[in-house]
């Protein structure tokens, strides 16, 4: 299990991503969830921004693309680290052996997908 050992040796990296992702989720997610997920569907705010032409126009800016990429990637690593730590407390031997690969590997795979999706935006 050299790979697992290597992944575990990158603890400072995972912890840094955990911190950054937690901060992004804390400072930015509530507004996005409230506006996009609650106020617009409830009809309190107009849904114009979410219409295809407007949202595509918004995402045409490279800065907005980087912003959304950060909004997706770093909180995923935050969740990966926290879920790994919480599940390790359950002390399930076979699971603990592969948890670092599952959690950080999963977050990395989804992050790479996010980069591909962003690059495919016209």
């Amino acid at each position: 299990m050299g790979l697992i050992k290597f992944i575990k040796s990158l603890e400072p990296l995972w912890w840094s991503l955990f911190g950054l992702g937690g901060a992004i989720a804390a400072f930015l997610f509530p507004a996005h969830i409230l506006i996009q997920g609650v106020l617009i569907p409830a009809g309190i705010l107009p849904k114009d921004t979410l219409q295809y032409e407007n949202f595509a126009g918004l995402l045409s800016s490279p800065f907005v693309r980087i912003y959304f990429l950060a909004l997706i990637v770093f909180p995923l690593y935050h969740a990966a680290h926290r879920i790994r730590m919480t599940l390790e407390d359950l002390r399930i031997g076979w699971l603990n052996a592969i948890l670092p690969l599952l959690c950080y590997g999963g977050a990395t795979a989804i992050s790479i997908s996010a980069v591909v999706v962003i690059l495919r935006l016209s």
């Binding site: 997920g37 995402l59 959304f68 919480t86 935006l121």
Partner: protein
Amino acid sequence: MSTPNRPPSTEVTKTYRRPIPNTWWLKKRSTLLFMIREWSSVFVALYALCLLGQLCALSKGAESYNALLAKSLSGASLVLHLVMGVFVLYHMVTWFKISGRIFGSGPLSPGAVTAINYVVWVAASIGVFYWIF
């Protein structure tokens, strides 16, 4: 003073490990709140995936995006976002509280650091509203 009973040196003794049930966190309010805080990260990941799904639909074109938009404007989506919002808010409150404990020393008390976090959060939220929407 009597000497304690000691087993013969040939006997092997084992350290007693008290069995801890998997439901240990339900026993006290503090550990329950701790576990809720930890599992709030699942909803953080879930919302990140929702955002990714939105961008994925956008990259596939208007038809795909509009189909997803119709679902995201539904009542079920509203309820899902409310649930995610509750846990994300709990993550936010506990994150700011911990930040105060970690960074609150010297001229800034833990309470001051936490208060600064909330001010930055309000500013960031207003920024999100006006910049994105």
